[in-house]
């Protein structure tokens, strides 16, 4: 080693010792930046505004627990069938065992599957409420989601109350193969019986609602409600681009696009959802006010 090299190594060592790393770590999630307008806000401000950006009204993703708090009356939520859990009927293993994925998701979200079902009241009107949770495996619909929603609709038919299902899903759960596809049929049949009894069914489409969910219960509502700028699609955007090799319109597959083409009754921002749901339900449940 030459003299100059020795000098360089000695200098870098001494520099390393002298630099003190000032650790200034802010706990994760305390300050949130809006994806759309870039506004930096304290997380409690965002939560108080139903997870909607106060500046540009961009709707953030929420959990099913948040939804229960935001929409139903306090303490009216009675969960049903919360003990249903998925099996692994196909013994599916892609990059991870399906069973292991389910366990990891349970740890992450506290839920046994991608939907919470139960009854509650909205300003006094009893409803059967199902909320899909996108955090659990992308809200994918498997046997348990199908069974819980079917039982929810059957309960509503028995109790003569309306059904509201909040949809947030990436589609059918591939790990359960054809059984997932059949859940589309199962839920649609339960909705048929519910309809035969003259009861009202209101799906609320949130971002994203795609695939098998769009092709079954999301589009079967008596009134179809959507959140602003939600991704509502049947085929994925990339699949369409690859199939037709053309550019897609700008607001393609958003709630506004479906609204223009006649598939959605109402676009309701999340902050007004509870009040408007009450207003709509009271037309049916208190017609001669």
């Amino acid at each position: 080693m030459s003299l100059s090299e020795w000098l360089i190594t000695k200098r870098s060592k001494s520099i390393k010792k002298n630099i003190k790393q000032i650790q200034l770590t802010v706990p994760e999630g305390l300050w949130i930046k809006c994806d759309q307008c870039g506004l930096l806000m304290y997380f409690k401000t965002l939560n108080k505004n139903h997870k909607v950006c106060p500046q540009c009204k961009h709707h953030f993703q929420t959990s099913s627990y948040d939804r229960i708090e935001q929409i139903l009356d306090q303490t009216s939520w009675k969960s049903i069938n919360s003990n249903l859990a998925s099996t692994d009927p196909l013994g599916f293993c892609d990059q991870k065992l399906y069973g292991k994925r389910l366990q990891d998701m349970k740890m992450k979200t506290g839920l046994l599957d991608a939907v919470q079902t139960g009854t509650g009241t909205i300003k006094g009107i009893s409803v059967a409420f199902g909320i899909m949770d996108f955090r659990f495996m992308g809200g994918s619909m498997g046997s348990v989601v199908g069974e819980k929603l079917t039982r929810l609709i059957e309960t509503a038919t028995r109790l003569n109350i309306p059904v509201i299902i909040l949809c947030a899903s990436g589609g059918a759960r591939m790990q359960e193969g054809m059984l997932s596809l059949m859940q589309m049929a199962k839920i649609s049949s339960a909705l048929h019986k519910h309809q035969q009894q003259g009861l009202v069914y209101l799906p609320i489409l949130t971002s994203p609602t795609t695939g098998g969910v769009t092709a079954s219960f999301a589009m079967l509502g008596d009134l179809i409600i959507a959140e602003p700028n939600a991704l509502i699609a049947f085929a994925g955007r990339r699949v369409i681009e690859q199939t037709i090799r053309e550019d897609l319109p700008d607001n393609f597959q958003t709630s506004e696009y479906l609204f223009q083409h006649g598939f959605i009754d109402l676009i309701i921002p999340r902050t007004k959802l509870r009040d408007m749901l009450y207003q709509i339900l009271s037309f049916y449940y208190n017609p001669k006010n």
Binding site: D94, Q95, A172, S188, S189, H192, V239, I244, F252
Partner: protein, 322 residues
């Protein structure tokens, strides 16, 4: 099988080679007839055994490729063998006549029935016209109109499923592909007439289910019914679309798998080599099955049958209940 154009399945190569040998042998039957006939017989026996062996051990992905072949009989190929006096009907009364989903009326063993089914093309030009059997919202709405018509006049409904999936295009989304399929799903549970669905080839997910609600679901032996194509599944779950073989195995798409899962009711046997090797025999086997199943279904009252249909789909799915 050897005079089929463009056979590209690699697992059929030994069969084709053997058939060629048999042909050549037949041509030199001029001299030394007895010896030639003996050899011919041996070869033909070998050929039959080879075919049986290959077709009994097809992997799911090979089955998918087999049913996607151009010479696979389509809905309109089967109908003349199954129905007498049949007429094709058209239009969704809403601005479209989708050529990918056909329907019509005819007689099955003397009684009037209504049929709807996906229609693939026989060659490239035909495929473009038929959109490869991928139906648009207009097609599902045409199917719904015909099925409602059948319900009103008390005709049983036969559906034939053979589609890579519902059409994924801008027009399809704009006209409400999801809504069209959803409405079909719900309405098919309301029909008072018997419904028998048969999967002829490829059952592509929601596009297939759009006419796939029935009292009895039949499936041809080598047909496949998928929730997502193995290529798409491999791309999403394995992050590598070349792993479609593993994806196809994992998804359990073959007729025997689905019989075990309770998704289909009966497997209809195909001639060795698939229905494309003997379309007439395949169609007549299917016709017999349809007649048998329809006779069973017609013994129930309308309400009993609707409740059985509801319970059939109600039972699908597995879960733990703690």
């Amino acid at each position: 099988m050897s005079n089929r154009k463009g056979v590209s399945l690699d697992f059929l190569k030994p069969v084709i080679e053997l058939e060629y040998q048999v042909d050549q042998l037949g041509k030199i039957a001029g001299h030394n007839k007895l010896w030639v006939y003996q050899q011919l017989y041996i070869f033909q026996k070998k050929l039959a055994d080879l075919k049986k062996e290959i077709f009994h051990s097809l992997t799911p992905l090979q089955r998918l490729h087999l049913v996607r072949q151009a010479d696979r009989p389509t809905t309109l190929d089967y109908i003349p063998y199954i129905l007498d006096n049949w007429i094709e009907l058209h239009g969704d009364r809403g601005g479209a006549d989708d050529l990918a989903l056909v329907g019509g009326i005819g007689r099955l063993n003397g009684s009037t029935v209504m049929f709807v089914g996906h229609q693939r093309g026989k060659d490239t030009k035909d495929n473009v016209v038929r959109n490869f059997g991928m139906a648009s919202p207009g097609g599902y709405r045409k199917a719904l109109r015909l099925m409602q018509h059948a319900n009103r006049f008390n005709f049983p409904i036969l559906t034939f499923i053979d589609t890579p999936g519902a059409w994924a295009g801008i027009e399809a989304e704009r006209l409400g592909q999801g809504e069209a399929i959803a409405v079909n799903l719900r309405e098919m549970f309301s029909f008072n007439v018997p419904i028998i669905c048969t999967i002829l080839g490829e059952g592509g997910s929601g596009g297939a289910l759009g006419i796939g609600i029935g009292d009895t679901i039949l499936m041809l032996e080598y047909a496949v019914y998928t929730v997502a194509t193995p290529e798409a599944c491999a791309a999403i779950l394995w992050k590598d679309s070349k792993l479609s073989l593993e994806a196809a195995e994992a998804l359990k798409i073959t007729s025997s798998d689905l019989k075990v899962l309770g998704v289909i009711d009966r497997v209809v046997h195909e001639p060795i080599g698939g229905s494309q090797s003997n379309p007439q025999q395949a169609a007549l086997t299917l016709k017999q099955e349809l007649i048998t199943e329809l006779n069973i279904l017609q013994k129930f009252t309308n309400d009993e049958r609707k409740e059985l249909r509801y319970q059939k789909f109600r039972k699908m799915g597995t879960f733990y209940e703690e």
